[in-house]
Symmetry: C2
Subunit: 290 residues, 2 copies
C-alpha cells in the first residue's frame, strides 16, 4: 500500500527535472518509483463497473468517498505490478524483442491511467496534472528509445528577422536523419486540428518530410457521470480531411486504441494509427529504413 503523500512527493521530484533530463537514469528511477506508488495506492481502492457503449471494450472507475475516476479499461489494467517492472527493465536495457507486446501494452496503459485516475480521486477537476505527467512519461519513452533529449522551441527563419516557434517535443536525430515532432494528449476531440496545423508550420518552415509528426494519445473515452456510461468520441472523417489538406502525420499512437481510428490504416488517405506498444518495436526500423 502507498499513500497519496508518497505519490505527491514522488511527482514533485519528477517535475524537478528539466526537459533535457528526459531519458536520464535519475528521471527513470523516479518514474519507476512513482509508477509503483500509484499501483500500490490503487490496490485497495474500490471499483465500480461502467456501462460501456464502446463495442468490445469494458471499463470500470476507481471510487473514493464520493469521487470516481476516469474510465479504466478492464483488459488493459495490469493487476500484476511485475508487468510494470518488466516494462521498465526492457526500457532500461532497450531489449523489447524478448518481451510480449501485450505485456508492454498493459504496462504502459497501467502506468498512464493509474496516475490520471488517482488525480481524479484526490483533486477537483484538475486536468493539467494528468496531462503534464502523461507528457513526461511519453517524452521519456521517446527520449530513451531515440537516445536524444527533446527541445520545445525551434528557430523559424524569416527573411527580415529571427523568431522562435514554441513546439511540442522535438527530437532531433542529427544530420540526414528525420526529426520527430511529438504532440502528446490525454485525449484529442475537436482540439486535434492543432496537431496537424503545427505539423503544417514545421513543413512550411523546414520543408515537407524533415519532421515526422507522431501524435501520442491516451484514449478517447468520455464518461457520463449520471448514467455511469462510457462512450468513445472519434472523428475519423475529420482526421482524413486534415491528413489530405493540412499536413501528413506519420503515426498516431494510442494507449487505448479506438476501433474507428484503426480503420484509417486501410483507406485513403492512409493514417497509420497504432497501439503505443508498437512504438517500442518499430521505431528503430522506422528511423533507419522508412
Amino acid at each position: 500500500m502507498s499513500t497519496f503523500k508518497d505519490i505527491h512527493s514522488s511527482y514533485t521530484r519528477l517535475k524537478g527535472h528539466h526537459n533535457s533530463q528526459l531519458g536520464s537514469e535519475s528521471f527513470e528511477t523516479e518514474l519507476m518509483l512513482l509508477a509503483r506508488f500509484c499501483h500500490g495506492y490503487l490496490q485497495d481502492k474500490n471499483r465500480v463497473p461502467l456501462i460501456s457503449k464502446v463495442v468490445g471494450k469494458e471499463y470500470f472507475s476507481f471510487i473514493k468517498d464520493l469521487k470516481t475516476s476516469r474510465p479504466v479499461r478492464v483488459d488493459l489494467f495490469s493487476e500484476d505490478s511485475r508487468e510494470i517492472d518488466t516494462f521498465f527493465k526492457a526500457l532500461k536495457l532497450d531489449q523489447f524483442h524478448s518481451v510480449y507486446r501485450a505485456t508492454i501494452e498493459r504496462a504502459v496503459y497501467t502506468i498512464a491511467i493509474s496516475f490520471c485516475a488517482i488525480i481524479d480521486l484526490e483533486k477537483n477537476g484538475d486536468q493539467k496534472t494528468p496531462g503534464t505527467f502523461f507528457e513526461y512519461f511519453i517524452g521519456h519513452c521517446y527520449s530513451k528509445k531515440l537516445k536524444v533529449t527533446p527541445r520545445t522551441r525551434i528557430e523559424a527563419l524569416n527573411l527580415d528577422k529571427k523568431t522562435t516557434l514554441p513546439t511540442d517535443f522535438i527530437f532531433d536525430l542529427g544530420i540526414e536523419k528525420p526529426k520527430f515532432h511529438l504532440p502528446i494528449k490525454t485525449s484529442t476531440r475537436e482540439r486535434v486540428i492543432q496537431v496537424w496545423a503545427h505539423q503544417r508550420v514545421l513543413d512550411g518552415v523546414y520543408g515537407v518530410g524533415r519532421f515526422w509528426g507522431t501524435l501520442v494519445c491516451l484514449s478517447e473515452t468520455k464518461k457520463d457521470n449520471k448514467k455511469s456510461e462510457v462512450v468513445e468520441i472519434c472523428l475519423p472523417l475529420q482526421w482524413q480531411l486534415y491528413q489530405m489538406f493540412i499536413a501528413q502525420m506519420k503515426r498516431v499512437y494510442y494507449l487505448d486504441l479506438p476501433e474507428p481510428y484503426m480503420k484509417l490504416n486501410e483507406v485513403f488517405p492512409r493514417i497509420q494509427v497504432k497501439s503505443f506498444a508498437d512504438f517500442f518495436f518499430e521505431v528503430d526500423d522506422l528511423t533507419n529504413f522508412d
Copy 2:
C-alpha cells in the same frame, strides 16, 4: 432598471432562433431588447477600477456581492443607451455612412461586453453562454450586412465518398462572389491556430481564394483577480507564422483591438487587423471590388 430574469427570458427567446433566422427582423427585435435589458441591468451596478498593464487603455469590473466581471474598457463602454439605439437603427436601415464610426465602435463593444459581464456576475465559471451570445450577435451583423443567412456545414468532395465538414459560420454570396468563413471568439490565445487550420482545409477543398477568412474577436484581456490587474495576451509573431505557412486570413476584427496586433497591418506578412466598427463601413466595397 431591468432584472436578470428579463435578460434570461430574452436570451432564451433569442436562442430559440435557428441559424437560418440570423439577420431576420424577429431576431433583431429580440437582440435589441436583450441589449437594452443588459444596459438597464448594469445601470446601478457598482464598479471597481482595475490596474491596467495595457498601455493606453483603462478597465473596470462590474461587481455584485463577491463576484466581479471580466474587464470592461472605460472609453468603449457606452453610458448612453441611445448609442445602442443608433447602432440598431443604422443596422436596420443599412445606413452607416451617416453615423460616427466611434459611436458604432462603442455600441458594438457595449452590447457584447455587457451580456458577458452579466453572465460573469450571475453564473459560476460559465464561458459557454457568453461565447454563444457573441456568436449570435456577430453572426447577425454579418447576415444583415451581407444579406444572406449562414451555414455551419459544407460538403467536402472526396473521390470515393461524400463527407461534410463542420465549419464556423459560412456566408455564401452566390456564384462568382467570395464566400465568407467567419470564426467568432471572445478571445483567442493559443487556440487561434485552429482558425488558420480551418481556413487551410477550406482552401484545400475549394481552392485558395474561394473563402475569405474573417476572424472576429471581442478582446484579449486577462484579469488577475488577486492583484486586480488586467493584461493583454498577444502572440503577433505566431500569427505571422500561421499567415505565412498555414493559410491567409483576409481580416481580423476586434471589438477591443490590441495594439500589438495593429502593427501587423504594416509589416510582412501583412495581416489586416481592424476594429469591428470598420466592418460595417468597408464590407460592401470589399465584396464588390477587393
